[in-house]
Amino acid sequence: MISKNVMRKYTEIILLFLVSFFISCNTEIKDYTEIARIPSIFPDYTNILIPPNIAPLNFKINEPGSKYVARIYISDNESIVVNSNDPNIKINNKAWHKLLDKGKGKRYQIEIFVKSDKGTWQKFKTIVNKIADKKIDSHLAYRLINTGYVQWNDLGIYQRNLENFDEKPILENKSIGYGCINCHSFANNNPEKMMIHIRKNHGGTIISKDNGKLQKVNTNTPYTLNAGAYPSWHPNGKHIAYSVNNIGQYFCTGETRIEVTDSYSDLIVYDVENNQVITSPKVSTKDRENLPIWSPDGKFIYFIKARPENPNNKIDVKYDLMRIGFDVNTNSWGNVDTLLLSRQIRKSISFPKISPDGKFLMFCASDNGYFTIHHPQTDLNILEIKSGKIKRLNINSPETDSYHSFSSTGNWFVFSSKRMDGLFTRPYFSYLYENGVASKPFVLPQEDPAFYESFIKNYNIPELITGEVPYSQIEIRDKILEDPIPAKIHESVDTTFLKRHLQAIRN
C-alpha cells in the first residue's frame, strides 16, 4: 500500500506540474524587440497551405537564443503555445488537430519569440500559413532505401500515418532473406488493392485480388521481354499495365552520378483475375515504350516512348508522351497517338500521372532518359489534357523534383524532391488548384524537428493511400515465400510476332 504521505507528495508534484504547464501555456512576453523578418526555421514551414488532417508540423528555430516560444494560432482564442529551452518546437498532436479542425479554410499564424543570450526577447515577423478545406489521404506508402546503386541490405516498404507520426512496415526485406523489394503500387489510392515486386530471393509479384487475398505471380512469359516492372493499376482494380524493361546502369562524373537507361522496353497489360498477359505489336516495337499509366476512365494507357538504343550513345535519349486505347472488356488495343514530343519542350518526358478528374497530366521533364531521380535538372510539369497547354510547375527547385502521386481526390499530390540537400529524396506535399497552380510544398512532418538533419535513407516512390494496408507483414511474407504462379499469355496475342520481336531485339 502506498502511504498517505507518498500520495500527498505525488499529488503535490502533479499539481505543481499542472500549474507550471498552465503558466507556461499562457506566457505573455511583453518586453521584446521586433525583428522585421520571419525567423529561419527548419524544415521550411512558411507561407504554405496544409491539409486539415496533417500531423503537427514540428520545426526547429535556426536562430541563436537560450529560450524559445512559439505561439501557433488561428485567433486569440484558438492558440497553442510551445515553450522550449532548445530550438526544437514540438506541438501536441491533440491540440494541433483541434486547432486545424477549427481553422479549416483559414489562416494559421506562428509567432516566434527568442530569448537572446543577453536575456532580451526578440519577436520575429509572424509566419502566415493556411489550412485547406480538403483533406489529404491519411497514409503515405514509400520505400526506405540507402543510397547504394548495386548492392542492398536492409530495406523495406513502409506506411506512415500522415495524421500523426506512426510509421509501420508493410514489408521489410529481412523477413524474406534480404531480397530486393520495389515498385509498390495501389489501385485508386486504395490500400486494399496493392502490388509489390520482389527481385532475387523469392522473386515475383505480389498482387491483391478482388477477393481480398494476395497472390504471387510471375508476369514473365516466353513471349515477353521480362517480368512486368513499372506498374499502373486500371481504375477497375482488375488489370495492371506494366512496362517490361531491360535496365542498365552507368556511373558518371559530375552532378548526375548515375544514369539508368533501358536497352529495350515494351508494354503489357496483366489481367489480375485471369492471370493473363496481353500485349500487342503496337506496344512491342523496336522503340522503347515505358512507364504506362491508365487514364481515370480506364480507356487509355498513356506512356512514354523513345527511339531504339544507340550503342554509341546510350545516355542521350529523350522520351515522347504517347497514348493508346485499350478496352479491358475485349482486351483489344486502339491506336497509338503522340501527345507531346520531347523536341517540343526540349526535354525528355517521364513518369506521366493523370489527376483523378482527368484534367491534368503531371510529368517529369529532364535533359535525358526517364530515370529522373538522379537528374538534378528534373522538374515537374503539368499538361492540361483538354487544351494541351503545358507549364512548368511553380514549385520546382534547383535540385531533383521527381516521382509524384495524386491523392484520391486529386487535390493534393506528393512528390520526391532532393531540394533539402541535393542528395536524399524526401516526400513533399502540395495542393493543386483548379487552374493547375500548385501551392508551396512542405516536407513530410516528423516528430523530431531535426530528423532530416541526420536521416540517411531515401524515401522512394511515395504513394498516397486512403488508409492502412490491411495485410500484415507476416501475411505478405508467407505469400512471398510461395512459388509464383506463372502468368499465361492471352489467346488473342500474336505470339509469332512476339517471338520474332524478341529474337530481333536480342540479336
Binding site: N146, T147, G148, Y149, V150, Q151, W152, N153, D154, P169, L171, E172, K174, S175, I176, G177, Y178, Y250, F251, C252, T253, G254, E255, T256, R257, I258, E259, I315, D421, G422, L423, F424, E453, S454, I456, K457, S472, Q473, I474, R477, L481
Partner: protein
C-alpha cells in the same frame, strides 16, 4: 550438495583446511587461465582486427536502438554492438571479451556448485568455457553477438536454478516466463541452450511430475521460435534456429562453424557430465561413507594434485586442438594488410604481403596501392606477380568488388576521382550504414566537393558514435569556416585533381584519362595509367603517355617502363622522345640476356620458363610471355 556430502563423509578431520587449499589452488588456476587467455586475446587474436574487419558501428540515437527491439535477439545484438565498438582499443577489447567469457565460465561453475555441490571440476568447467569462448574469436568475421546471446542464456539458466521449486505448475510457469525472456533477448538458439540446460536440471532434481515438465519444456522450446515466426515476428525462415544470421554481402558474412555449436552446447554438456559423475559416485561410494583403507591425507593430496594436473593437461590439449583448427594465418595476414592499407601504413602492407606467400588478388591490389603511394609502382610493378593483369590494379571488374567496396572507395579517393570514390562509399554504406570508416569517407568527399551541407549531415550521423566525437569536432570546424578545407593538404589536393564535368565512368582507362585531363599534375593517376597500359600490353597508349614523363620530373625511367619501351623499340621504330640515355644500359643488357636465354632453348617458351623465371620473373618480358596470356582467364 551430494558431492560435498560425500567429501565430508570421508571423515577427514582437517578437510576444511585442505578444501580451502584446494579452493585456493582452484582459484589460482582460474586466475592463471584468465591471464593466459587474456594474453592470447590481446596479443594473438587482437580485437582491433575484429573491429577493423567488421567495421563495428554503434550509434547512440534512439532510432538506432528502436531498430533492434522489433525482433528476437535484438537486445543482445544492441548490447554486443555497444561493447564491441571498444574493440577498437585492443586492450579494452581484450578485457571485454575475457570478462564476458569469464562471466559465462563463472556462471557455469556456480551452476555446477548449486546443482551438484562444490566440485573438483570447477577449474575444468571454467576453463573449458573460457577456451571455447575465446577461440571462436580466431575467426575475424565472428559476430560478438553470438557470445552475448549465449551469456544471456547462461544468466537465465542461472536465474532458473534459483527460482525453480518442487511445485511443478509453478516451476513450469516460471520456466515459461524465463524462456520467453531468453527468446526475446537472445534469440532461438539461446532458448534451446536455456531449455536443454534447465531440462537437465529438472532431471537432476526430479521434482513432481518431472517427466511431464521436461517433455513440455522441450516441446515449448522447440516450437516457440516457430510459432513466433508464424504469428508474431515477420522473420525470415532462414534465420530460424540459427546462431548467426547471414546478411549481405554473403562473401564476408560469418558462416556458423561447428566450433560455435560446440561452444553453445557446452553448458548442457557440462551438466550431463556432472549428472553422470554424480551417478557414478553414488554407485561407487562405499555405504556409510567410510574412507577406504590406507587413504591417508598425503595420498589424498597426491590424488587431488594428480586430478588437477590431469585437468590442466586436458585443458591444454583442448586449447591446442581448438587453436589448430580455428587459426587461419593467411586470413589474419590479409586482415593486417587491409588494416595497414586503411591506415596508409604502406611499408607495413608490403611487409605483410611478403609474409602471405601464395598469390592473392586482394594482396596484389593493396601491394600495387602501397607501391603507388610510396612512389615505387613503376619501379616495382612486377615485384608482386600480376597474375590478374590490370585486374590487380583495378578490382572493379573482379568478383572482389562487392566485398571490398570500401577499399575501392579508398583507392579512388587516393586517385582524386570523387565520383567513383563516392559510388563505392555508398555501396559500402548500403551494407553498413553507420560504419565510421565510410561515414568519414563521405564527409571527406563532400568537403572536397564543397558540399558542406552534406558533409555536415554525415558528421551529424558520425557524432552519434561516441568514439568519433573528436574527429567530428575537428571537421565540423570546416563547415563553419570553409577556408579550413583549403588549408587541409589532402582536401586541397583532391579538389585540384577531381574532374567536374559530366562524363560516364565506363572503365578504368577512361577514368584515368579523365583525371589526367582534369589535372596533369596528378602523378599517381599518371603512374597508374602507364601501369595499366603495361599490364594490358597496350603499347600505343603506353608510348603516347610515356613521352610526358619529363613533366613529372622523372630523370631515369623506372624498370617496368624501360623494359616495356625496350621491347617496343625492339619490335617497332624508336619513338621521337627517346634518346640514347632514355633506357639504361643495364636494361638493354638484361634484354639481351633474356633473348639469349630464349635462344638457348630454341625459342621454346615452355622449356625456357624455369630459367627465365629465376632471373627475369619480375620483368615485363616474363609477364608478357607467361602471365599476360592467362590474365584474361584469371579474371
Amino acid at each position: 550438495m551430494d558431492a560435498l556430502k560425500s567429501i565430508k563423509s570421508g571423515n577427514i578431520k582437517n578437510d576444511v583446511n585442505r578444501s580451502s587449499k584446494f579452493l585456493n589452488l582452484n582459484n589460482s588456476l582460474i586466475i592463471v587461465t584468465i591471464l593466459i587467455l587474456f594474453w592470447i586475446v590481446a596479443f594473438y587474436i587482437q580485437p582491433f582486427l575484429h573491429y577493423h574487419t567488421q567495421q563495428i558501428a554503434f550509434n547512440t540515437g534512439v532510432d538506432f536502438l528502436i531498430g533492434f527491439l522489433d525482433s528476437p535477439g535484438g537486445i543482445s545484438n544492441y548490447v554486443s554492438l555497444f561493447l564491441s565498438q571498444f574493440f577498437s582499443f585492443n586492450l579494452l577489447g581484450s578485457i571485454i571479451i575475457v570478462m564476458l567469457v569469464s562471466a559465462q565460465g563463472l556462471i557455469a561453475v556456480s551452476l555446477a556448485d548449486r546443482l551438484f555441490g562444490k566440485s573438483k571440476l570447477s577449474f575444468f568447467i571454467f576453463s573449458v568455457v573460457l577456451v571455447f569462448g575465446v577461440m571462436v574469436f580466431c575467426d575475424y568475421r565472428y559476430p560478438f553477438k553470438a557470445s552475448v546471446q549465449l551469456l544471456f542464456a547462461y544468466v537465465f539458466v542461472w536465474i532458473y536454478s534459483f527460482i525453480s521449486t518442487k511445485r511443478w505448475m509453478v516451476n513450469l510457469v516460471l520456466w515459461i516466463i524465463l524462456s520467453l525472456s531468453t527468446f526475446y533477448v537472445a534469440n532461438d538458439l539461446a532458448l534451446i541452450i536455456f531449455a536443454f540446460s534447465s531440462v537437465l536440471m529438472v532431471i537432476n532434481h526430479k521434482p513432481q511430475k518431472w517427466l511431464i515438465i521436461t517433455v513440455l519444456m522441450l516441446l515449448i522450446a522447440a516450437i516457440l521460435p516457430y510459432l513466433s515466426y508464424l504469428f508474431i515476428f515477420p522473420l525470415s525462415p532462414y534465420t530460424l534456429y540459427s546462431i548467426t544470421k547471414l546478411t549481405p554481402p554473403e562473401s564476408i558474412s560469418y558462416v556458423t562453424f561447428y566450433l560455435l555449436y560446440c561452444y553453445y552446447f557446452l553448458l548442457p554438456a557440462i551438466i550431463i557430465l556432472l549428472i553422470i559423475s554424480k551417478e557414478y559416485n553414488a554407485r561407487t561410494q562405499p555405504k556409510g561413507g567410510k574412507v577406504t583403507k590406507g587413504f591417508t591425507p598425503n595420498k589424498y593430496t597426491k590424488r587431488i594434485n594428480l586430478f588437477y594436473a590431469s585437468q590442466i593437461v586436458l585443458i591444454l590439449l583442448i586449447g591446442f586442438v581448438l587453436y589448430k583448427i580455428s587459426k587461419d594465418d593467411l586470413r589474419k595476414k590479409l586482415i593486417y594488410i587491409e588494416y595497414h592499407a586503411e591506415n596508409r601504413n604502406w611499408e607495413k602492407v608490403l611487409e605483410y604481403a611478403e609474409k602471405t606467400g601464395d598469390y592473392n588478388l586482394l594482396v596484389n591490389f593493396q601491394v600495387n596501392r602501397a607501391y603507388a603511394n610510396l612512389g615505387q609502382l613503376s619501379e616495382k610493378l612486377f615485384n608482386y606477380p600480376q597474375l590478374y593483369g590490370s585486374g590487380g590494379l583495378f578490382i572493379d571488374n573482379t568478383d572482389l568488388k562487392e566485398s571490398f567496396s570500401m577499399q575501392l572507395s579508398d583507392f579512388y579517393f587516393d586517385l582524386g576521382l570523387m565520383s567513383e570514390s563516392l559510388r563505392w562509399a555508398y555501396e559500402t554504406q548500403t551494407l553498413n550504414p553507420y560504419s565510421p570508416r565510410v561515414l568519414k569517407r563521405l564527409v571527406s568527399i563532400y568537403l572536397v566537393d564543397e558540399k558542406y551541407e552534406l558533409a555536415e549531415k554525415f558528421l551529424n550521423v558520425l557524432d552519434k558514435n561516441i568514439l568519433y566525437r573528436e574527429w567530428v569536432n575537428r571537421y565540423r570546424k570546416h563547415i563553419k569556416d570553409n577556408s579550413l578545407s583549403n588549408a587541409d593538404p589532402v582536401i586541397a589536393e583532391k579538389r585540384r585533381f577531381n574532374p567536374h564535368y559530366k562524363t560516364v565512368n565506363y572503365d578504368p582507362r577512361m577514368n584515368l584519362k579523365l583525371l589526367l585531363l582534369a589535372n596533369k599534375d596528378n602523378k599517381l593517376a599518371y603512374e597508374y595509367y602507364l601501369a595499366l597500359s603495361i599490364l594490358d600490353v597496350n603499347y600505343s597508349e603506353f608510348i603516347t603517355y610515356l613521352k610526358n614523363y619529363t613533366y613529372y620530373n622523372i630523370k631515369t625511367l623506372p624498370e617496368s617502363w624501360e623494359e616495356t619501351l625496350c621491347l617496343y623499340m625492339y619490335r617497332n621504330e624508336k619513338p621521337d622522345f627517346v634518346t640514347s640515355s632514355t633506357i639504361s644500359s643495364q636494361c638493354i643488357e638484361n634484354f639481351k640476356v633474356f633473348n639469349s636465354v630464349m635462344r638457348n632453348f630454341d625459342n621454346n617458351r615452355e622449356k625456357a620458363r624455369n630459367a627465365l623465371q629465376r632471373d627475369f620473373g619480375n620483368t615485363f618480358w616474363y609477364y608478357l610471355l607467361y602471365i599476360y596470356p592467362n590474365t584474361k582467364n584469371n579474371i
